[in-house]
Structure formats: structure tokens, C-alpha cells
């Protein structure tokens, strides 16, 4: 069953078109992540769904009800904000019950719901504190609780973790994932952190300039990015790109040429200028490299040890090449190493359209 349906949504701020004829269909219980660089319109889309912005054109349906002109509180959504947006002068209890009081719910039911939410989020001991007396993680939990008590069908999250430090972010990420597992609500989650997107999402929508570039599962997006932008956006360290051309089933770049055996083209194999993208972690170095379809020998320019891994920078076919190695790898600047990769794991993009070949 469709839980949230966005139909031909357009939103303009004056002359600036932020969202352009956008369509998404989110089935019930899905965890959808909106991912994109800053300013691409993620928050705007979320605010449109929540009813906090008036759409310029198009419709929004939630649970098969056209809510385009409905007030935010009448849409059956709950929203969690980046800055937590807790009411500073109210206790945690007050924060949780504010929305329910506004809806004139009976006192006993309010108490019941608050108690339930507090239990789920393990914030019972905090109920009588004010937000100022809470840590970042606790605040975030209260913010989630505020959506929880309202018993809504759809949760909207706008970068809920980006104000937290790395460690806490990792922990709360896991908690949100657990929450989704147990509640099974529809969740729409905005972030610009790809790790969050990859780990949390059932499906990811990658946005750029108000347009969805690719809407698919994390694995699919990681392995088969639909265009060059997506390929470059997803993955850290960044994917390596080589400019060249597809010629008779092989790829030619900077004097080198290698076969593309095993690469599954989208349509018919066509020649022409193209980009080849290969992820740093898909490049194998050392002895194991020899057994792969494409091999080469390169000189290491720079080594960045990161503890668990090591990132080596080399030059291949005149272009910089990142190679991810094991943290214990003993390479140094100036070493010559053997590398290899499997074209099946690479991605090819048309030079002009930048679409996947």
C-alpha cells in the first residue's frame, strides 16, 4: 500500500525553482533516505510533505488522502528536526504532551502515550528535566519521542544526527534503525551523510538541483550508479574516474587500453568518449592483483594511513588514482606496486550525457 505519494511536485521561491516536477511513491513501512549535497532541496521536499511549505504545484497524498492543503498537524505525520527544536521552557514531559494537548486529547490518554514513548526511547528518568539539562543524544531521543506520541503513520527526519559528534552519531544511527525495525512506520529521512544513508535506507533517493537522480536500494546505488554524479557522490574515498573512450569492447585512456569483459552494458555496446569509474576499494594491490583481468604497475605518490585502512595515491594513465589498502599494508611514497581490477565492478558513463552505459 502506498503511504506517501508525491505527484508532480513543483516548488518555487520567487523565481528560484527548488523542486521541479518531482514524483515519489513510498510504500508503507519503507525507510526512504533523501540524500544530496547541501542546497539540493532535501529539506524543502520534506517541508512540503509536512505541510510547512505551500507547494507551487502538484499534490501530496498521505495514506491515500490528498493532504495538499491540510495543516501540518492534520496530516498524520511526525517530524524530527536537526536542531532538535525542543521547547526549551517545557520539561521533557511537556514537550512530549504539547501536541496532544493541542489536539484536546483526554489527560489519561496523554499520560499513557507519553509513558509508552518514554519507555520505548528509554527516557523515563528524564521526563521532568528541561531540554537544557539533557545531552545531545538525549535531546535527539526526546525529539523522536515527540513524533512517537502522536501515533502517526509517517515519520519525517531532517538531518536528525548532524549536530552530534561522530561517536554519538554512529550510536544513534543504530538506534533509529532498531526503532524502525520495531515500529515499522514509513520513515523519510534527510541527510547529506552517505554512511547514514547507506546504513539506514531501504531505498535512497539521490537528489541534485531539485531533481531525483536515482532512487534505488543502497547496494544498487553503490554498485550500479545511474550517472556520473551519483557515482562520484557515493563512496568514500571517492571513486576514481578515467577519461577515455569505449572502442570495440575495450576502454582506451591515456595510451592504455584494456578489455571490458564482464561489464554489463545497459543497452547495446556503443563506442565513443566515456568516463570509466572504479572504486578505490575495488582495486586490488600486491600479488593478488595478477589474477585480475586488468593489471598495471604504478608508483605511489602519497600514502594516507587511516588506521583500519590505508589510502594510497598513485598516477595511472596520467590521472590520479586512489587505492584503498589494508591498514597494515606496508607501502611508502615512491614504492612501485602492482595493481589490478575487475571491469565488472567498474562503471562506464557517456562523456556528454554522463549517463551509465
Amino acid at each position: 500500500m502506498t503511504s506517501v505519494l508525491v505527484k508532480d511536485l513543483t516548488l518555487k521561491f520567487g523565481a528560484l525553482t527548488v523542486l521541479d516536477n518531482l514524483n515519489i511513491d513510498i510504500p508503507e513501512g519503507e525507510f526512504l533516505v533523501l540524500l544530496g549535497a547541501s542546497g539540493c532541496g532535501k529539506s524543502t521536499l520534506l517541508n512540503c510533505i509536512a505541510g510547512l511549505l505551500d507547494v507551487t504545484d502538484g499534490e501530496i497524498h498521505i495514506n491515500d488522502r490528498n493532504v495538499t492543503w491540510e495543516e501540518p498537524s492534520g496530516r498524520g505525520i511526525g517530524m524530527v528536526f536537526q536542531s532538535y527544536a525542543l521547547y526549551p521552557q517545557m520539561t521533557v514531559q511537556g514537550n512530549l504532551s504539547f501536541g496532544l494537548k493541542n489536539a484536546r486529547m483526554p489527560k489519561t490518554e496523554i499520560q499513557e502515550r507519553v509513558a509508552r514513548a518514554a519507555k520505548v526511547l528509554q527516557i523515563e528518568p528524564l521526563l521532568h528535566r528541561k531540554p537544557a539539562a539533557l545531552s545531545g543524544g538525549q535531546r535527539q531521543r526526546v525529539a523522536i519521542g515527540r513524533a512517537l506520541v502522536r501515533d502517526v503513520d509517517v515519520f519525517l527526519f531532517d538531518e536528525p544526527l548532524s549536530n552530534l559528534d561522530a561517536k554519538l552519531r554512529a550510536d544513534l544511527r543504530v538506534e533509529i534503525k532498531r526503532l524502525h525495525h520495531s515500529l515499522k512506520n514509513t520513515m523519510i529521512y534527510v541527510t547529506h551523510d552517505q554512511v547514514e544513508a547507506m546504513t539506514l535506507a531501504d531505498r535512497i533517493a539521490i537528489m541534485k538541483g531539485g531533481i531525483i537522480q536515482q532512487l534505488d536500494t543502497p547496494t544498487e546505488i553503490y554498485n550500479r550508479p545511474t550517472n556520473k554524479y551519483v557515482a562520484g557522490f557515493i563512496g568514500s574515498p571517492e571513486i576514481n574516474f578515467f577519461e577515455g573512450a569505449v572502442e570495440g569492447g575495450g576502454f582506451v585512456t591515456g595510451g592504455e587500453r584494456f578489455a571490458l569483459d564482464g561489464y554489463s552494458f545497459q543497452g547495446a555496446v556503443s563506442g565513443g568518449p566515456a568516463w570509466l569509474g572504479i572504486r578505490p576499494e575495488h582495486i586490488v594491490s600486491g600479488e593478488a592483483a595478477a589474477s585480475l583481468p586488468v593489471t598495471a604497475e604504478v608508483t605511489v605518490d602519497l600514502v594516507e594511513p587511516m588506521g583500519s585502512d590505508t589510502l594510497a595515491w598513485a598516477t595511472f594513465a596520467g590521472m590520479p588514482l586512489r587505492i584503498r589498502m589494508d591498514g597494515q599494508a606496508a607501502v611508502g611514497t615512491g614504492d612501485r606496486i602492482k595493481i589490478g581490477f575487475d571491469p565488472a565492478r567498474a562503471s562506464l558513463f557517456d562523456k556528454t550525457t554522463e549517463e551509465r552505459l
Binding site: 517530524m79 528536526f81 526549551p88 521552557q89 489536539a103
Partner: protein, 304 residues
């Protein structure tokens, strides 16, 4: 200069710990010297007023205005407060004081209430044209009052408020609106927008958000607004003269009258006592809320 001094010392001992700095360096003497001289200049008038108000007239005539009183007398204060005459009304400043209080309280409440709601609407509920009105309002703050004095007489007359305290309250509300609205708008704009969005998702409306969310959060700005308005309205002279009748004259106008309605010789001590009495309310507010006052002025002005 510093370096050479430091070198000289360095020759003697190995530098360790904090750099030795002479307590009375030339820079410090200049710095504190200037500050103290200027502070004396600023403090002097208050001192002179206080000293003069405690002297008797003969002492004033022969003495030096800076000299402390030989014989302290509170008679001038008593006279200024309760006996000084304007015409045949000899009840001193006390009447003006109560008039000022009667003008002050409703003016402050009304102007702040209206301006805060305005600022809130402008910050969070923008509608078509709201910015235009706001711009007019801000530009209006710089229009000389003189341009609007007479039209306001007509407006008040048409409303039947001319000459009454409520007329003056309205005038204060109108002329206080630009700066206060700006103050509140800036403040409410600085309240995270997400808070406002969260409240809307929680189903609160215009007034719900104002009273339940915004008001409790804006105590500091209210304090600032109150300070600005209390001092501003208390110190007003022009509107008090033009829009009220003598029976309702605020204290500043009364002060000017008492000081200028001389009978025989000028009683400088009474005048100074009266002057101090008039300045007392804003001074107390200012000394009591020193830091807030400063913060408020800075917040209201630097952002504007």
C-alpha cells in the same frame, strides 16, 4: 618599545613563566589616565546636581558649585517634591510623578504587547505585503516627529482621545512601534525556525505558538524592551507637552515648568533636586539593570 624592554630583562634571566609586565607601564598610565579623566567628566554633572541639591541658597550664592555642602539640607528635595509652584498649584513634582506613572504603565504594556505580536507575525508568519509595511514602519522611525505632530492632533481629536492620558498612551505606542517591532522581529527571527515548525506540526496555531512557545522564550528581549520603553516614555517631553493638558503633565514637563516659573530668584537647589527627582526613575532602572540595558541597546542597534 616592548621588545627592547623584554630584551633587557632577557639578558638577566631566562624567560620562564609569564612575561613580566611593569604594573605602571606607559601604556597603562595612558589607558587608565584617559579613562579616569573622561569618567570624571561624565560623572561631574551628576555630582554637581547632587551637591547643589543639598545646599541652602546662601551657600550656593557664595560658594563653589563643586564644593560639597557645608550644611546638608533636604529642604530643597522636600520643596521640589511637594511644594514648588507652577502658577497657584504648589504641589511640586509629585503630581507630575503620578501622572508619569499613569502614562508610563499603560504605554509600556500596550506598546510592548503590540510590538511583540507584530514582530512575531513579521518573523514567523510573513504574508504578502508584510515586509512593505515593516519597511514603512522602519523608515517612519527616522521621520522627524514634527511632520506627524499635527496630523496626530487631528487623528486623536477624531478618536476623541485628545488631551486624555489614553491619547498620549496611543502616541507613545505609535512612536515606539518601529524600534520595538524591529527589536522583536530580530529576536524572533533568531529563534530557530525549526522550533516554530515543530510547534506547527504539533498543531499549535498563531496565538498558541505565540503564547506557549515564543513568549516564555523571550524574557530577555522583553526585559530589554521594557527598559527601553520605561526610560524613553519617562523621559519624553515633546509629546507630553503637545498631547496632554496641564493637569496630566508628565514629570519632565512639570520639571521644565517648575524650573522656568521663577518666583523672585531662581532656587537652584530646588531646581537641581527636581531635576534629580525626575531623573531618578530611569537612573534606578539603569543602575539596577546595567548589563541588560547595555545588551539591549547593543542588540537593538547593532543588528538593526
Amino acid at each position: 618599545m616592548w621588545n627592547s624592554e623584554a630584551r633587557n630583562v632577557a639578558d638577566a634571566v631566562t624567560p620562564r613563566g609569564p612575561k613580566p609586565r611593569p604594573r605602571f607601564s606607559r601604556t597603562n598610565i595612558m589607558l587608565y589616565g584617559t579613562l579616569i579623566v573622561v569618567a570624571a567628566y561624565y560623572a561631574l554633572p551628576l555630582y554637581v546636581m547632587i551637591v547643589t541639591s543639598l545646599k541652602g541658597m546662601p551657600e550656593i550664592r557664595i560658594g563653589n558649585i563643586f564644593a560639597p555642602p557645608v550644611e546638608v539640607t533636604f529642604q530643597p528635595w522636600v520643596k521640589a517634591w511637594a511644594e514648588a509652584c507652577t502658577g497657584i498649584n504648589c504641589d511640586g513634582l509629585s503630581r507630575g510623578f503620578w501622572n508619569s506613572v499613569q502614562i508610563l504603565v499603560p504605554s509600556v504594556i500596550l506598546s510592548i504587547a503590540i510590538a511583540s505580536v507584530n514582530g512575531y507575525a513579521l518573523a514567523n508568519w510573513r504574508f504578502r505585503g508584510s515586509e512593505v509595511f515593516f519597511t514603512i514602519l522602519i523608515v517612519g522611525a527616522f521621520i522627524p516627529y514634527q511632520v506627524m505632530l499635527y496630523p496626530l492632533v487631528i487623528i486623536l481629536r477624531e478618536m476623541g482621545l485628545y488631551g486624555s492620558i489614553w491619547g498620549l498612551v496611543l502616541v507613545h505606542t505609535i512612536f515606539g512601534m518601529p524600534i520595538l517591532t524591529l527589536l522583536f522581529r530580530n529576536y524572533f527571527t533568531s529563534v530557530p525556525e525549526e522550533l516554530f515548525k515543530a510547534a506547527r506540526v504539533d498543531g499549535a496555531g498563531f496565538w498558541g505558538i505565540y503564547f506557549r512557545i515564543m513568549l516564555p522564550m523571550s524574557l530577555p528581549i522583553f526585559v530589554v524592551a521594557i527598559i527601553l520603553q520605561v526610560t524613553g516614555i519617562w523621559n519624553d517631553f515633546l509629546f507630553g507637552v503637545i498631547y496632554t493638558k496641564p493637569a496630566d503633565y508628565p514629570m519632565t514637563v512639570q520639571l521644565n515648568n517648575i524650573v522656568n516659573s521663577v518666583q523672585g530668584v531662581k532656587e537652584y537647589n530646588v531646581n537641581m533636586a527636581a531635576t534629580l527627582l525626575t531623573g531618578l526613575v530611569p537612573l534606578i532602572i539603569y543602575f539596577a539593570s546595567g548589563k541588560l540595558f547595555v545588551r539591549g541597546i547593543a542588540a537593538g542597534a547593532v543588528k538593526g
